[in-house]
Symmetry: C2
Subunit: 385 residues, 2 copies
């Protein structure tokens, strides 16, 4: 059977790292996981309790395509709390993760052949989902001067869209209000549809993450229960879309997804309760402690050229003074130090051979052990050279 040309998406390199780590563990080694981009914690207790209760009360059938009204209202309320915004729940669309939101947003906004820009380094699936939808990803190279975020002067008139993320994966950097406003303004001027990936909101350590909604209503904002809410496997997220796009998205969602996972919607309501939120804020405190350890420990190990780690749970390091083959270098770290880390190639096909991403989403004890191993590894390596 033949396959389409759009199906020819790149593999995830981190998967090879994960497989190598798994094989090492199977062979009896103890591995510290700094490669995976997901919390070590699960859904809050309140989320699980809510699900148990509703599951016994009646069948979890299809919900309406845009998601349960009570959940849409609870999310709209979050915009009051987090950004002091008065958001109409009618604009909140519940999705099958941020991933499902991208499928809806890209289909709603772009036609086959359209060019969509993304700042590089970035979350690798943007590029691959665009390709799978017959769209053309345009990588904009970013650097430390702009906190690895794209700049208005990089926009051109032939772009149909721009995807930004703040805090970003893999860098953790944020766009401040001025930078976000400049990008939104530039998009508006040029008729470029702006998609703001805000999946790491709730996890920031240097001031407050700015939502694109604070600057404009002409934006698709994407968020998720995967990160701050610690519910990756539940596959639940949401979008906020312009008022005149709600019906359009509703029709697409009815057909493409029928509805977002109902059990996850119920659990999310529990996660949004005061008890759920308290538990989640506890996780954030752990990440904050981990981050401080990371910045100090990585520098001590020799990884001192890092992006400003404003949010999320990543440190992105320039390792060009150590290697020009990040993949081999990560394999070496796993082999020698028993620490799994991600080569930058997944995030930046151009310069990723000289970068590495460290995740600090796991328990603090793991972070401490990982940092000690990295330090030992780097000093042995330096001595050998």
């Amino acid at each position: 059977m033949r396959h389409s040309s759009r199906a020819e998406v790149d593999p995830f390199i981190v998967m090879d790292v994960m497989e190598a780590a798994r094989a090492a563990e199977e062979a009896g080694r103890h591995i510290i996981h700094m490669e995976v981009g997901q919390p070590g914690s699960g859904a809050p207790r309140a989320a699980r309790e809510r699900l148990v209760a509703e599951m016994e009360a009646g069948p979890l059938g299809y919900t309406v395509a845009l998601g349960r009204p009570d959940l849409r209202e609870a999310i709209a309320a979050l915009y009051g709390e987090w950004y002091d915004l008065d958001l109409d729940p009618a604009r909140v669309v519940i999705t099958a993760g941020a991933s499902g939101a991208f499928l809806l947003a890209f289909s709603a906004l772009f036609d086959a052949g359209d060019k969509v820009a993304l700042g590089e380094p970035c979350y690798p699936s943007y590029r691959q989902i665009l390709r799978a939808l017959s769209l053309v990803p345009v990588g904009l190279q970013t650097d430390l001067a702009s906190r690895y975020q794209p700049l208005p002067r990089q926009m051109s008139g032939d772009l149909a869209g721009l995807i930004v993320a703040s805090p970003a994966n893999p860098t953790g950097t944020m766009l401040d209000k001025t930078a976000m406003g400049a990008l939104a303004g530039s998009c508006a001027e040029r008729g470029i549809s702006l998609i703001s990936d805000e999946i790491y909101h709730g996890l920031q350590y240097n001031g407050r993450a700015i939502s694109a909604l604070e600057l404009t209503d002409e934006v698709y904002v994407v968020n998720s229960f995967s990160k701050y809410f610690s519910m990756t496997g539940w596959r639940l997220g949401w979008m906020v879309v312009p008022p005149d796009h709600v019906r359009l998205i509703e029709r697409l969602a009815q057909n493409m997804f029928i509805c977002p996972p109902h059990a996850a919607q119920v659990a999310a309501l529990g996660a949004l309760s005061p008890e759920g939120r308290a538990e989640l804020d506890g996780h954030r405190a752990v990440y904050a402690a981990n981050r401080a350890l990371m910045l100090e420990g990585l520098a001590a190990a020799g990884f001192d050229r890092v992006a400003p780690a404003d949010g999320a749970f990543y440190v992105y390091a320039d390792v060009s003074e150590i290697t020009t083959d990040s993949q081999a270098f990560c394999a070496e770290i796993l082999e020698q130090a028993g620490v799994a880390v991600t080569p930058g190639l997944d995030f930046d096909p151009v310069r990723g051979e000289r970068t590495v991403r460290f995740s600090y989403a796991r328990a603090t004890a793991d972070i401490e052990e990982g940092l000690a191993r990295l330090k030992g590894f780097m000093s042995t390596r330096a001595a050998a050279e």
Copy 2:
């Protein structure tokens, strides 16, 4: 903000019926629901119990993109039980419902502009998902002579794909081994990719549903936990793909979905247990009883031109002798008889003005009451004419 042209998908007409039914209920009326295509029952007890247990045991993080190996194995075993096939679990791909399977299959098989055929009447979302992916749906008109299923002589060389469903929605009709074999052969000859929607397998009343896999390995078979397994809101399904397509689908799934909903995967394992299966077979017995009542009761009411209701939980009636405006007719039935039914326009844009779909997925008492109301309505209507 502008939107894409591919986002211009048609609305579901059944949604208007559901909204009208809801409004009537809110106004205090009692409505019998024969419009919705989902079981009135929920996930089996064994599914819920399994989820409660695993949810307490540890976090439900991202699974691998193709789904949990234990679930893929359990599904492969089902092919032994149902069709006496020895299926390699490596070919089973867990998806976010049959809906998620279509998104993966269409992206994997077709490029923008490709033509994909479907027999009409059919599940409306095939057409809309194809459009959202910049593909061109080609409706093949079917009729009673072929049990409302497409025929090999309707295939033409410019088609990239064909979607068949057996048992089908809205008709409930099945393809026998000869008919399925002829379609598969014709597709192979012409280089047309065959997608077989087998979501209603497990729900058949006239002999056994044939899987396309019994005839060829060169097919994408789509199935789901929504119908026989009674787990619509959980958003879980699966595909069986040719061995040399597994890696391709894995990469697409990693990027487009990350993974199928983990909680649903756990629940599905419970549904597949002997206790789960026993509960589900009980539902099937209810549908079988409902179906017998429906065929008799609908005929008695005057709906006697129906498609052969081999499987699923639908009866599709030709009402051309009663009306040429199925939408107005359904509104009238709801208003006068308090029974919600679906106009055929959702399934067949050409001839659906003269057809109606009745669903019998609810409790038997509801079916009895609905049939009595329909009979009363039709005799009053005849008397008035």
